[in-house]
Symmetry: C2
Subunit: 379 residues, 2 copies
């Protein structure tokens, strides 16, 4: 089953186009979407889809939307999120939410200090609107922000970060938030992976409100549950944000699907009632299996502390693109990490990203092949 | 049940923000989304959602996507559409597809001759990317195109048009396509409403391929079936199109939901097997009911020949905004047509747009209130 040809032959492929090539591959550990088998309680929710449809027909859309916001955000510890205030927009996906923010920043003429590395569609979307970027090294977050940022500019972090799993803790977030407040910078956080990591589930909204910084948070239901892209992105913002986010959003959509809102509420409740524990168990198991199998080839994972649903395999040489190409010929699709390092791609060439939100046997199979191919890259 | 406050108090609302205010209103004839009760066979498909989910888990995504393309496009007469060629992208919604084209046109520095009037998110999305617009009066389509267009520029038509129901027939489309070919212009068609009108279902792809013009077509499943925003947008393009549409698309999404792809295939098959006849029957009935009730207030519909799921009510005076505001206070939400006339809003002030993809009693109720309010606008 081969998909359509993607990308032009001369341009390097972005990460999403690489993921697209892997969609129907025998072993797809490329994209970070949730593709593990549904749990039995998630299967029950899938069986409930007709009932959710009926409820979505009967109930006001704004009520369903508010319930989805409340259920999802409170299940992830975000009790102070502005649910019911009109300051949470619902989109088809988190990338649509990122794009809305990018348009707003472009209109405001803001320069953005963007975390480095991170998934390449964030710098690509920002740049596509003409936003100027300054790299913000992950390791330096918590230290003073770049001097060139001026009032009205923006700091954009992904926490937990993709692919590293780095998390902005209370201390780092407070430090960044205070400096943003003092210098008149907007703080944007993409928290799409927070559901995997309890360390990213302290109440960000409360912290940011208490600091008094202007913020935009991008939340995502799409990474957690294997719902075949039945998902939502949320765009939450503080009262002081001046960007016309609602107007920009309205150019792209009227509402997301109320059926999916209802499904997200149910998934969040299931997550709170044991589903997240099961998910964390699976990801931990898959990370352990990956490490064990890699060890057979003398390889190991970077980011020992990461809890997100992707892992970086460290190669002995900076030849990720070559190793990934070799794996793809064997039907195993992973991502080279060069493009995550949007400001210095060569820094990513020592790493391959492996998705962990998969059945464990898929991860095993991929790990065995990578152990062989990666070891082969030495000689 | 009141929704969040939308829009700033100083800016006039765009049409989508107006529609958003009406989402949970007692009588919502504002948005053009399908909100009629599902037919019995559509109810059967809703009951099949868990089965569709299982099929989407088991079947390759590209296969499901290709089946959705084939089923949908062939049900609407588009047999020569490039199904299986890799030249049909699938998005969350047609507005996302429009936005992708708008980005491509902006990167190419193209000026766009855009049909006038049309739904305001099309000019808004194009302008938001910095694309320069030239109005193309609907009544003049088929006559020579504006002289200021140069090679590499674009002609963008909505056919059937929203809100007028105007359709580019074989003759007009051939004329425009030939001139575009001869002058090196890209032809973009938004055919989101074609499912309502058999006159828009001749094979556009065959015609355009035979002319040899470069084209992009935006197709939409969202206007036809009351699936609560479980929908897809398609972006189909000819071989010669140089815009990096696939790359731009990949910044926003990996894939749409394969569950929705499966649902769309089933809906298209149901449409072909009688569903479209039932839909056209409902829309005709609702249009007739609207006309009859309006007549009691001395009002009538414009666009006598329209078959799309919206109708324009003609007022005796150009006071649509005022009449719409009065109706909204009574819980009846419709759209003033000013914003559709993106180049000359005052030309729309004599018209109110009423959605017809509703239960007939909703249209009746709205029509009665409009007949009263509209008649009142005279004195």
């Amino acid at each position: 089953m081969s998909g359509p040809a993607v990308g032009s032959s001369t341009e390097p492929l972005n990460l999403t186009l690489r993921e697209l090539q892997a969609i129907d591959a025998p072993v797809n550990v490329a994209d970070g979407h949730a593709r593990q088998p549904p749990t039995s309680s998630q299967q029950e929710l899938i069986r409930s889809l007709p009932g959710f449809f009926a409820q979505a027909q009967a109930q006001p859309t704004f009520e369903l939307e508010r319930e989805a916001h409340r259920a999802f955000l409170s299940a992830l510890g975000q009790h102070a999120a502005p649910v019911g205030s009109g300051r949470i927009l619902t989109t088809y996906a988190s990338s649509v939410a990122i794009d809305i923010v990018a348009r707003g920043l472009a209109r405001a003429g803001a320069t953005v200090a963007l975390i480095h590395p991170t998934f390449d569609n964030i710098p690509d979307l920002l740049r596509s609107h003409g936003v100027a970027l300054v790299p913000l090294e992950q390791a330096q977050i918590g230290e003073p922000l770049p001097a060139e940022l001026a009032c009205g500019d923006c700091v954009f972090l992904t926490t937990p970060n993709n692919p590293t799993g780095w998390v902005a803790g209370v201390e780092e977030l407070t430090s960044v938030a205070c400096e943003c407040r003092d210098r008149g910078l907007l703080l944007v956080l993409d928290t799409s992976f927070r559901g995997f990591d309890p360390r990213a589930q302290f109440d960000h909204y409360r912290l940011l409100d208490e600091v008094g910084v202007d913020y935009v948070l991008i939340e995502d239901t799409g990474k957690l549950w294997p719902m075949l892209e039945l998902k939502l992105g949320f765009l939450a913002f503080s009262e002081g944000v001046q960007l016309p986010l609602r107007e920009i959003c309205s150019d792209v959509l009227l509402t997301a699907s109320p059926v999916i809102m209802r499904l997200v509420s149910a998934l969040a409740e299931d997550g709170r009632d044991g589903g997240f524990d099961a998910l964390w168990g699976l990801i931990t198991r898959n990370r352990d299996v990956l490490a064990a199998r890699l060890a057979a080839g003398g390889l190991s994972c970077a980011d020992k502390d990461s809890r997100v649903s992707v892992a970086r395999v460290e190669l002995p040489d900076p030849r990720a693109a070559e190793v990934v190409a070799r794996l793809a010929r064997e039907g195993v699709h992973a991502l080279p990490c060069g493009p995550f390092f949007w400001n210095s791609p060569s820094d990513g060439e020592r790493f391959i990203r492996i998705a962990l939100a998969r059945a464990t046997d898929v991860v095993c199979h991929a790990a065995d092949r990578i152990a062989l191919a990666g070891a082969g890259s030495v000689g």
